[in-house]
Subunit: 342 residues, 2 copies
């Protein structure tokens, strides 16, 4: 972020034809984007969305309301335009790519899907490390490559999305290990578990974090408890931060990856914008740990990057207002009467 453009944008906000501060958080959003884009007229015309998909061995523990075959089926749905993120990408005029990191049910070769299969699924994190060191390295690298594609496309904003039945279990386990929290604080219903299912899922996470003991190195935790898509999202976030691309963080899964990225590289935090607070109860804790105040709270809990996509028009509005509004001087509008009775 470039402090000069932050200051220029802040000054501009003070002289636009509105009471100072009256655009609320849209003012700060424009100022932040100005700094991140090193441009006092920030813009979000080119948005790069990468959805990472992968299956989870921990599904063997019966922790999801949906069958594991859905991961591969949804990859096809992303490609054919029927998924929520596909609809939103079209609506936004954003670039959408899907990165298949490995599914239990084979996914067909499809236009718009990059085959980066690492394995059919991670190992069952409740029993053993989810990934081997080389699998972790591959997943991080596939994420970094997405950030590089975004850079080459001139993306002004990156959105990472996730697909992987079972991935709220992995994300909760990662967050518990990184933050030293109890599973009951971070495990929730995911796609739709009932109270008994949540309790079982919490037990599974407790076994997993018990298994890894005092492991504190972020990448060791990621290898032990992560998913291919969560590791790739971590790599993508680190890659965007390193390349100076702002990232709009989606919900519970992407926030867990963002937390991992920030533990690995604290300076990555300043490239992160936060879209929404999800209905997944543990998301609030992740956002607090990231000192994040998301723009929206709509009760969404779909993943795929969908919540981030829904928030894009708010950032675009912030840019349009910042760039397009007249100043008091240009419009011949009187500013507030400082010093007079108010």
């Amino acid at each position: 972020p470039d402090a000069r453009y932050v200051e220029l944008a802040r000054q501009r906000q003070q002289v636009l034809t509105k009471p100072p501060g009256s655009l609320g958080r849209l003012e700060q959003a424009a100022i932040t984007l100005a700094g991140l884009q090193a441009n006092d007229r920030p813009a979000l015309d080119r948005i790069h969305i990468s959805v990472f998909a992968g299956d989870h061995g921990v599904c063997d523990e019966g922790i999801s309301a949906f069958p594991q075959a859905v991961t591969a089926q949804m990859i096809a749905n992303f490609a054919s335009g029927g998924a929520a993120i596909s609809v939103m990408a079209k609506e936004l005029g954003a670039w959408l790519e899907v990165i298949n990191l490995g599914t239990v049910e084979p996914a067909a070769a499809l236009s718009g899907v990059l085959d980066r299969t690492i394995a059919p699924a991670t190992a069952n994190l409740a029993q053993t490390d989810a990934m081997t060191p080389s699998q972790l390295e591959a997943a991080l690298s596939h994420g970094d490559e997405a950030a590089d594609r975004a850079r080459r496309a001139g993306a002004q904003l990156f959105i990472g999305g996730d697909m992987g039945i079972g991935n709220t279990t992995s994300a909760a386990a990662l967050a518990c290990a990184l933050l030293g929290r109890d599973p009951d604080e971070l495990v929730g219903p995911g796609t739709g578990l009932d109270a008994r299912g949540v309790s079982h899922k919490s037990d599974v996470v407790r076994r997993a974090i018990g298994r890894i003991g005092n492991t504190r190195e972020p990448l060791d935790i990621l290898q032990a408890l992560g998913g291919f898509e969560i590791a790739a999202l971590t790599g993508a976030i680190l890659g965007c931060a390193a390349r100076g691309i702002p990232v709009l963080v989606d919900g519970f899964i992407v926030s867990a990856a963002a937390l991992m990225a920030v533990h690995q590289q604290p300076r990555a935090r300043e490239w992160l914008l936060f879209a929404h607070q999800s209905a997944e109860p543990g998301h609030k804790t992740l956002l607090q740990a990231l000192e994040a105040e998301p723009l929206l709270e709509l009760g969404m809990r779909l993943g795929e990057g969908s919540g981030a996509a829904v928030a894009v028009p708010l950032l675009r509005a912030a840019c349009a207002l910042h760039n397009g509004m007249a100043t008091f001087e240009a419009a011949g509008v009187s500013n507030r009467s400082e010093g007079e009775a108010s």
Copy 2:
């Protein structure tokens, strides 16, 4: 609203490729719009924005941080495209019209501005009724005519906006009288009063509601305490409800007009959608009285309809997802495994 289309839309939401409920409030927004538009594929391509402007005699009491000349100056700014609502209307591809109901400083004749001058300003509501009966009738009628223009243009959504230095004083007074609340609960800083200014403004409102005593008929309260633009907004909301046009309610001023409309005609309530909770502290109380849960809370407090305009893309996203997502059956995606361990 047509219950058949509500039910069709509800059924469709259950079979789209997502966990049921996972789009949160966007699901209900699509279902509500389906009922209001009597169309199970709701759309928001044609949006009609009417900004009503008028001056307030109560400015004599020194209740605003901005000089009264700003009302007329902002009318010119709306017309030339420099105001927040002008920028947002362009961004949304929405129709924008400005209705001038009377300003102390003369407003030039401008393209996009309809001259419906009633008087240079209302009378000082702290001392006497703000409007005569015929002025109130004219203002309500100018609002109804805006609703009729929206209908003739085939608008799928109506947004009313306000401009009038001093109008948070009028809106707070109306809300106090309608709800039987103390001014301290509903008076706030408006465009930027300090604590002393707010306290003085609260005293002015207290005098006004004391002056009208036990007046309980909504239109009598509106005549005594309203502004031309607030009365016109009331007429526009009633006119939209009568013509079956959904209204997206903006902030404190428009919510006061909506409260007035609903007191006058309770069935108008079902045509109202709520965009945002403003930073003006009393707005929360108005929203509660209207049993409204707005989509956004961004700390905006600008008026003009700007908060409603910023929320439009959320409703458009709700429609796009509702209309564009694939069903489980069409996409060949497995639905959740009912009855299995979850």
